[in-house]
Symmetry: C2
Subunit: 305 residues, 2 copies
């Protein structure tokens, strides 16, 4: 029951109040896959340049991630750099060099096409659609998007998410996509666009799972130190679908167990919180499944009444 993840694999330059790194492994696909790898067998689809380091290949492979779909082409790997505000709730992009990612045209290896789970990271909606078409009979499909696609590629995006089981976006994106300021109303409109499940991520304030029959809310995990929030939303996505895959969830368009979904949201939150504890994806060099389950229990302890 393995998971296919598509998205950017990149190098990032990150500055937070805790320090600065000039070049560290990054990209949505990387974070999603690292996070999901704790729950299920994960295969990635992406593109990198000939500068992609052997050490990073080994890091991903060490987490059991299948890299058959990671294309290597001449040129440089996607590079992004940004700096976070003092409270880390805002970030300013300093550099976006698409490099080899500009011509990314995801092609799924034959061994990927029969997999049941698909997570479409934040890339151009048409590419997301093309990936879904390459899958033969996916059982659970979802993904992420961003303000840029919502504003300037709206029709493409709507045609793309129509076929998804779930959409994972943040609150600002949900408001933008729906045209509604109130999250309950925004969610109702988005659930009319196709996905039967919507997860709205609210950063440090947690997340809300929306379904037609009701919603589920979880506050954000209270970290003692937020080192670097880069990738936290993607790690949420990885934990969310990773957990559902590990439970063998097979919804026939909407028929899915609430208990599984709620637990998936908690595992997503857990993975997002770990991600913030070190620069880039470094926390995943040492993180164990036991620590994940311990934090899951902590969520229970901190929210039970």
């Amino acid at each position: 029951m393995s998971l296919v993840v598509v998205g950017s694999v990149a190098y990032d330059g990150v500055e937070t109040p805790h320090g600065k790194v000039d070049r560290i492994l990054g990209g949505a696909c990387t974070y999603i896959a690292l996070s999901a790898s704790y729950f299920t067998c994960t295969r990635i689809v992406g593109v990198v340049g000939d500068d992609f380091e052997e050490g990073d290949i080994q890091f991903l492979q060490g987490r059991g991630i299948d890299l058959e779909g990671l294309e290597r082409v001449p040129g440089k790997t996607f590079f992004w750099a940004g700096v976070y505000s003092a409270d880390m709730n805002e970030r300013t992009t300093l550099t976006t060099d698409l490099n080899v990612f500009a011509d990314f045209n995801p092609k799924l290896p034959e061994t990927y096409r029969d997999q049941p789970y698909l997570l479409l990271g934040n890339i151009q909606p048409e590419l997301q659609q093309s990936v879904l078409k390459q899958m033969r009979s996916p059982k659970l499909v979802g993904g992420d998007t961003m303000n840029y696609w919502i504003a300037d590629f709206r029709e493409q995006l709507l045609a793309t998410i129509r076929d998804w089981d779930f959409l994972l976006i943040n609150d600002g994106e949900a408001r933008m996509l729906s045209g509604e300021n109130n999250l309950r109303k925004a969610a109702a409109k988005i659930l009319d666009m196709g996905p039967h499940t919507l997860v709205i991520k609210r950063g440090e304030y947690g997340a809300i799972l929306f379904r037609r029959e009701g919603h589920f809310m979880v506050p954000g995990y209270l970290l003692e130190d937020v080192f670097d929030p880069t990738g936290a939303g993607d790690c949420f996505a990885g934990g969310f679908i990773g957990y559902l895959a590990s439970q063998g969830v097979e919804p026939s368009r909407g028929d899915i167990d609430q208990t599984d979904l709620r637990r998936a949201v908690i595992y997503g939150s857990v993975m997002g919180s770990f991600c913030c504890e070190k620069f880039g994806p470094d926390r995943f060099r040492t993180l164990t499944r036991a620590e994940i389950d311990e934090r899951y229990q902590e969520f229970k302890t901190c929210t039970d009444f």
Copy 2:
């Protein structure tokens, strides 16, 4: 087992994206008392001018609130006016006419002094201290404060909260009071200032209860329409202490049941959410205890996993 509440009783002018009222009953004491009145017998201490309307007296008395401590003096009642931003997360004060509230010097009626529960609304710390001194043997004491007292009356404020069981403030105030940006660290510092219990209110994002042995988090109730958030934080306080009073909680400086405290936070959240459903305190003209308990259950349904 009744509750004494001290604070402002006022008239407000409020403008939100949903409409505008030029003059409606307001003030922290009013909101706290109305909210607490659903849980326990409540007595208020405040001051109003000779313009205070008979209809408002009847509204408060109709909720069973004891007004013996509500002084009436010549002059005008405290008046505040403000306008909310489109998303209602910010508000701009247009008018603050202290009027008779400028000389407020709370005197507790004899019948109030033996009561076990005391909630000190946001007024000058010295006045809060003087009220506490007038009580003979309070069993549970807590209150609110604001940025103004934290910045300009710090020593007075620290001397005041030292004797409190609990402090209820918002996240910005907690950061300001502690000098720590991280809420966990901020809470640890504040718990060293005296109160054994700290509740940090986060508006639409919910609340966190901090105690030395751990914390409890609750997300905010998702309203379909936020009509007017004025008084929501005070209604939280009223529900919080009102519920604890209804359970006869009697901590000997810190020894208090976590289950009671957690439920009190939920009831606080419930009352804050109802407050936002109509202008000013109008929701409390029709709200029933059955509706309150129903929303408490809804909180359980929406957060359980």
